[in-house]
Structure formats: C-alpha cells, structure tokens
Symmetry: C2
Subunit: 337 residues, 2 copies
C-alpha cells in the first residue's frame, strides 16, 4: 500500500541505508547511485515517513507554538516573525490554539511535548504555577514569547509593559491632560495586565496627579469592553479628557463610544493605547499607540529557541525589546477648562 524506504531500496538495487543517505542529503553517496535512488523515489512516489524518522532519530525538526487566541491580531504578526526564523533554520512549526483558557493551554503544551517537538514557544497570556509545572516536565527547551513569568525562571522575549504604559500616559500628561482614565486589561495577569496598570499609576504619581478609582475600569482586551468602559467614563460628572487603554482593540472601542456619544476624538477626548496592531491605522482618527515590535518578538524568540535546542551558548535568556510611541491623530492637547 504505502511505499517505504525498503521498497525504494529494492527498486534502486541498493540498501536502505543508502536510500536514507540520499533522502538526508548525506554527501557520502556516489552521484550515480544518488541518481538511481532519486529515480526510484520518483517512480514509486515515495514519501518519507516523518513519524518513523522521528522515532529513529529522536528529533522531529518541528517546534510547537501555542497561541492563546488565534483571533487576536497581535499573535498573527508575532507568528510571522517566528516562521521566518524557523524556516531559516529548517524547522517546521505547528501552531496550536489555546482559546485563552488556561486549562487548554496546559493541555496543548502536553500534547505538543508528547508529539516530541524539539522545542516550544509559548505565546502571551499569564504564566501561573500550573504552567510552570507543565514546563518543568519538559526535556526540550521552552521560551516564552510576548510574555514572561514572574519568577524569572523561564527564557522569554517581551517588552517592558510597565514602561510602555508609563510612556503612553506621560505623553498625555505632557500635552496638558490631568484627567486621565484607564481601561485596564486583566489585573490578575502580573506581567502584562497589571504591569500596564502600574505604569499608568506611576506616570500619574510622577506628575503629582491624583489616582482616582472612578477613572479605572477593567476590560478584557476586546472592543466591546472598551466601549463599555468608555460609556461609563462619559457619564461621570467630571469627565476625563483622555483615555489610556491597555491595548489597541479596547482603544478603538473607546473611540467609537466617544463618537457614538456625539463627541470628538481628539478634540474632546484623547485616546492612546499600546500594541500597534494593523487596526490602529484602520480607524478614524488613526490611533496613537505605543508599538510593540511584534515581528521582532517572534523572530528573537525563535532565534533564542534555536540556540537552546542546539545547546549553543546564550548569555541572556530573558530579553526585553524596545517599544516606540507612534504618534497619530487620536491625541491632542487637553481642551481648555
């Protein structure tokens, strides 16, 4: 039924080992023999069985990538960075979606490990003790990508979320805003959600601005939650003049909620965020935001992983990439009054 390396060997009149050599581009094969084998392969339509290969060689040349949420635009771009580098080093990559559910994240990690991937990239989301425990059982390297763990035990590639938030809010302050609200992400997540919130507080503090409970609403990183939080801010007696959203998608919700209420961005209210997904330029006014170097995060993480897999020396396993403020049209000086 299916044609094996043995069939090819017989057809070409050589041994299995020789066929294996040509398939693996081992130079120790006479050109003429190689040709014979190649022809037999072609004639028989032989396709190497990667499963058997993996078992015999104990390498699969594939790395698993777990994505918290396929529908999140951030990850698409990070994935591109991962892929480009993976291709460069001849690794296949297989993506697994985890639906933003912790239990599934862990299940997926285990599945990937059972499949004997040579390495693992774990993207985004918060890292709990349960995650760490799953990671510990791994015999292959794992690097966190666009997230990091509090304990600092895992290799990771990420930005400084607190500083990014600090920079965004500072920009607002430098434009004269004093009533700045924030739509946070999950405060349960220390490395991203909470860090961004901390950045907001510190920027306020540094400027001597009071922290107000009613200027903070928690969202879930989604558009709708950005709208909801903003509607809340709009009905406050003392309406904020600027809103900082923990990510772009919520910021776009904020912009639309403001517009739907008959107000203008940025004339009445400024909006700023973090991420710089493609959408940021696909909204009117275009969104001012702190850009994460998504492609680079993926690329650097994958590069780090290759080094780990090949047991090369790496001097820094926890890398922080720089972010950059993209000034567009959604922010303006605070309105007088």
């Amino acid at each position: 039924m299916t044609v094996t390396i043995y069939d090819v060997a017989r057809e070409a009149g050589v041994s299995m080992a020789t066929v294996s050599r040509v398939v693996n581009n081992n130079p120790n094969v006479k050109p003429q023999t190689r040709k014979k084998v190649l022809e037999a392969i072609e004639r028989l339509g032989y396709r190497p069985n990667a499963v058997a290969r993996g078992l015999a060689s104990k390498k699969t040349t594939t790395v698993g990538v777990v994505i918290p949420d396929v529908s999140n635009a951030i990850f698409a771009e990070v994935a591109r960075g991962i892929e480009d580098i993976a291709n460069m080093y001849h690794y296949n990559i297989i993506l697994c979606n985890a639906d933003k559910r912790k239990e599934k994240e862990i299940r997926v990690v285990n599945t990937l490990l059972e499949k004997q991937v040579d390495g693992l990239l774990f993207m985004g989301g918060s890292i709990t003790e349960d995650h760490l425990e799953a990671f510990r059982t791994s015999t292959v390297p794992i690097v966190l990508c666009s997230t990091a763990d509090e304990t600092g035990t895992m290799p990771s590639v990420d930005i400084d979320h607190e500083q990014a938030a600090f920079d965004a809010v500072s920009r607002l302050i430098s434009e004269g805003h004093r009533k700045i609200a924030m739509i946070t992400g999950s405060l349960q997540d220390p490395t991203t959600g909470y860090a961004r919130f901390q950045g907001y507080r510190k920027a306020l503090e540094k400027a001597g601005l009071p922290f107000r409970e009613d200027y903070v609403r928690a969202g879930n990183y989604r558009y709708e939650s950005g709208m909801e939080a903003t509607r809340y801010f709009l009905q406050l007696k003392e309406r904020p003049t600027a809103i900082f959203a923990a990510n772009d998608e919520m910021a776009i919700g904020a912009i639309h909620a403001i517009q739907d209420a008959g107000l203008r961005v940025p004339e009445d209210i400024s909006v700023i965020a973090i991420d710089n997904i493609r959408l940021a330029e696909m909204v009117r006014p275009e969104l001012t935001t702190v850009a994460q170097p998504m492609y680079d995060i993926g690329a650097v993480a994958m590069r780090l992983l290759t080094k780990l897999m090949r047991k090369e020396h790496v001097d820094e396993t926890r890398v922080i990439l720089p972010h950059e403020l993209k000034v567009r049209r959604s922010t303006a000086p605070a309105p007088a009054g």
Copy 2:
C-alpha cells in the same frame, strides 16, 4: 533519561502490554492492576511518546489544517469551528501557515502528509492543478474549507460566492443605485475572486445596468488596496454612488478613503461587501455586508473530514452553506440626481 512504557511496566510489575492497555483505556484490565499502573505512571512522570504510538498504530489522531494567511481574520473564525468539532472527536489539530504563497501551500501539505496526519483541511485560496496533484498523492482524506476546486473532484465546504455577490449588488440596485463600482479580489482565482466579480456583473445585467470598465478596480483583499481603488473612483467625472467590495477589509478601506476625501458614507456613497468579519462592526458607519457562516464552514468541514477518516458514508461531499445579508449603516438609497 526519558521514561518509557517499559520503565512503567517494571515499576508496576506488569508487562508493557498491560501498561499500553491502561494508557489506551482498554477495558480489559482489572481495576486493581489499572490502579497499580496509574500509580507507577504518576510516580515516574511517564508521558506517552506520540511518535512511537503513531508508528506502531499507524494513526496519529491529528489533523492538519493549512491556513493561507494567519493574519486574515476570516480564518481565525473558521479555525474555531474546526477546533470545536475536532475536540469533540478527540482529534488534535495542527495549524500551518502558508503565507498566501502557492509554493508554500504545497510544501506545507507535503510536510503534513509526511507527518502522517490522519486527515487534512485546506483553507481558502485558489486551487490550482499543482494543488490537485499534491492532494492526489495523499492516502488520507482532504477537504477544502472556505474554497472549492473548479473540477469538483475534492470534498469541500464553502458558500456560493457568485450568489453572495449578486445579492449584495442587488441590494444596492434595489435602493436605487445605478452607478455601482466594484473593488474585486484576485480575478485569477475562479472560485472566490472571479465568482464574486461574476455575481456583480450578473446583478448589473439583470437590472439592465451597463457594465463599465472604469467602475472596476482590482484589489488584493487588503485595506490599503481598498483605499487606493476608492481614490480612483472618487476622481472619476461620473463618480459612482455605491461601491461593492469583494471583502470587508477592502470595504473598510473604501469607507475611510471616502471619509478622508470629505464625503460621507452612506449619504454620498454607499459601501457594501462580503464576509462579516468582526471588524465590520468596528468601523463607523458599521458595514453592511453579506455574512459568510465562518464558524459553520469550519465545523461542517471538520465533521465531513471525520466521516471520511472513519470511512463512514457521506452522501454529499461538496457542501454549499447559506449566506445572509447583514444590513447595517453603510448603505442608503442613492442620492437624488
């Protein structure tokens, strides 16, 4: 180093076969024995090797999904449908990105086949003879998802693109529009791009409206191309009063190009499209569009694939799912004049 089934057997004082049975939930194991084995597994931290399993059983319980472009919002939703059904039938799914490049699509299919997936889902994009040839070498079932092949030889799940386009344009016509432009996708792609274009022409024809070359611009399904095409339409002496875009993303580009030119949607120009990605409601005005049942496409395709993998009877291998017009705010009756 790594603990194998043999280690567990020794630890539990049973044979490998017995361990295998408990791992595979084979009922032919005395509860007491099962308990002993489970304990040994726990104690040793045994993790079954899926590669060895796959080789021995000739099944991997995983299906490969090739995605033309991870950053395309459509596929995220389709993927969710696939996943839900896959989980239901206990298949793992591995996603592979093909970067919208035909050569890579084919390479990825081959890689997946080498990895001995039990089935394959091929999403979107146009199916060429080269694709078909790669598909033909497969010994496992393949179903096309959100696309179909012209020759009709492959199982597939899709919508009727021509009819969807026809319906969109007919809506415009019924609102009195007579100057209707179209931003097409790739006309090279018979099943999607060209079919949607055909639907446009037929709707025009049925209404006795003339077909004008200068009312058609080709885009590439991206936002920017939608903007460009629209800018072209705007400078026409006889400006269209409505634009039909082959997909939502280009339509949003059209809306912004119109707005950027100081005109209003829908008062000055109506915009309609096909897809209904989340973004359609994340734009102002919200986009009127013909919705593809993306989740269902994924779910039905995966269900069909499971039947094929289990060699169950299926009476219809080429399914067309219904579409539905979502009327929102981007269309209005044609302006007088």
